[in-house]
Symmetry: C2
Subunit: 376 residues, 2 copies
């Protein structure tokens, strides 16, 4: 088919080649119908969900309870015993994430993060224990954020294992902005450790005075979502920024993500500026910014078979935004963004893909729930 | 259907009511198949397209040509005579927008904007003339931006008639940032005039020393897209910001949109900060921000019948972004964003809905084109 009814040429100057000569046809695309199943209700501020190799689920409740739910959900959830007694349940603090060691089948290790109560205040810690039925045994803290502070904010707390069995833990600034750039504090870091807590010798700040040796990156305000990219294996995070400053980043070794020196956000209530602007040489730019804020928590790339249209999409939970945000990427640029379930299920705290290839959501409420998204 | 397999209650504290008790079903949604028809090619840097009541099209080329194309496009476009001789075709300057008076059927008036060459440099002007066949007659400049400057950048230039036959003209900062906040300069303004150029007595800065009386709003960097909201009648614009600072705004009388005091963008190349941050009391916040930039030009709300799924969506052309951006709104918040035709048709300069209910695009190239989006 000829591409043009008319192509001018006589009157104009010499023409470059047309960028395309023929009509372009864009096929229809179907956003799938789906049903959100409310699998478990009555959860008290649930924070995270993880799966054991046998299909059982572990669910954390921030006030300090770990639940084990048998595969199939036909039996009532069981409270797992043996959590530490010194969980600081206050403000944003409490029990956070739970993650299952890649070699759980042989070592029975589960990892969990929480706010630890100490005389000086509280701090984010990473612990591990062996799970024996509904009991945690041999509980061991493998990392303690330094210093502890009298603050109940911005603990971070997501745990991610990478393909080499290194474990990442995301942290926040504990509400003290400048600490995210402090060379001897963990605040604002993503931490990278061996599974027993040893510091990897190839960590970027080993031998440096710029940041603690446990730190893999610096300068984040509060990261409550982290996951590995299914193809590149890179660590993607989102950052719960101040008003208007939520971000998505890829965490690269030794990089500084800029908080609070640079940010797209402003101070709550006053709307006044923070830091030195939105960019500065040597500080990383986010892949994506939300203005206005959505208050992200939880994230997962979808790779399952149930929703072919969603494969490779990143799903982000929104607390204040009360939505499940779907982001489609071309390389490292978001080319489509959609807010699903806007206002329909409340605040979303966690987003996971289960071993069955379904997306699971955890809602943040005193009557929180575990939800599953199924094709209709 | 019962909403939960399990609802915990015995072990936990008193529960609030669940936010929802039953499963939620979300219906499928279909993004339509469509074909992009290349209607007219060989256009030299076209900038705008408008329709006469009889269905004929007017197309501007930035180097200073106005074309008339008969309805149905079966005859070769005709060059319209009578344009002013002093169009400054340099850098970003030249012939910009064309708009048809709402009462064209009785007054034959068309309006056009261009960069006017004067001894002191150039400036954006708004002119009108009667169109008689392929001749402009009684050409009259109804507004001249003050002052003229030796700059070939950031002219703005979009023309919009509102429902009361007032005419809006968007301007830029002419590459001199601080001028967008200068109380006696038009730079950075959206101008509002009677159709004959008289200043409306209810313009917000009439009798004020804060801005010229023609100004309806202040503090924009370079607005190359403007359209009325099909329901509210409000003037929506986008702003071509610096690197990382493109915006969508609703233009309200007397408001200051903040450039260059506040911006989400940074300096090109250096990445250094501009102004005082991203927000400041008394300065307007955008509805939407693009980070990274897309370089927007042209915009239209879709209200046609051919694509029911797109009704109420805002379509924005992207120059550097080389895409047609579709934005879906809930009130004044973008809840979905999609980039169509990414890289497929090149730089998009203008986006319009034709009287036939189709979307039309103008591509910015030495071999630019008029495209129409049709259902497949």
């Amino acid at each position: 088919m000829l591409g043009c009814t008319w192509a001018l040429s006589a009157a104009g100057p010499a023409r470059a080649q047309p960028s395309f000569a023929n009509d372009i046809t864009v096929p229809a695309a179907t956003a799938p119908a789906f049903t959100v199943k409310r699998l478990i209700g009555g959860l008290n501020r649930p924070w995270s969900v993880a799966w054991l190799p046998n299909g059982d689920l572990l669910i954390t409740e921030r006030p300090g309870r770990l639940l084990r739910v048998a595969k199939g959900l036909q039996a009532k959830p069981t409270t797992v015993t043996g959590l530490p007694q010194n969980i600081a349940v206050d403000g944003q603090g409490g029990l956070f994430d739970v993650a299952v060691h890649p070699h759980y089948a042989t070592n029975q290790l589960v990892y969990f993060s929480y706010a630890e109560q100490v005389p000086a205040g509280s701090r984010t810690v990473l612990a591990r224990a062996q799970l024996n039925g509904a009991a945690l045994q041999n509980v061991e803290v493998v990392f303690r954020m330094q210093p502890a502070l009298n603050s109940s904010r911005h603990y971070g707390g997501r745990i991610v294992f990478d393909g080499n069995h290194m474990v990442f833990l995301t942290l926040g600034d504990r509400g003290q902005r400048d600490s995210a750039q402090h060379p001897s504090q963990h605040a604002g870091s993503v931490i990278r450790l061996h599974d027993d807590g040893r510091i990897p010798t190839d960590n970027p700040f080993v031998g440096s005075s710029a940041a603690p040796a446990e730190s893999f990156s610096r300068g984040s305000r509060n990261i409550q979502g982290a996951t590995l990219h299914p193809v590149t294996g890179e660590l993607w995070t989102h950052e719960h920024g101040p008003q208007g400053g939520d971000e998505i980043n890829i965490i690269h070794a030794g990089k500084n993500y800029g908080w609070p020196t640079i940010t797209y956000g402003v101070n709550y209530f006053t709307g006044t500026a923070i830091g030195q602007g939105v960019a500065k040489p040597g500080l990383e730019q986010p892949l994506h910014v939300w203005v206005p804020s959505v208050a992200p928590s939880g994230m997962a790339f979808y790779t399952g078979a149930h929703f072919p249209q969603w494969q490779g999409n990143l799903f982000v939970g929104a607390l204040r935004g009360q939505a499940l945000i779907r982001l489609q990427w071309q390389n490292e640029r978001a080319v489509a963004e959609e807010r699903l379930l806007q206002g329909q299920v409340g605040r979303i705290r966690d987003v996971r893909q289960g071993p069955d290839g379904y997306l699971y959501l955890i809602t943040d409420a005193a009557d929180g729930a575990l939800l599953r998204i199924e094709p209709d």
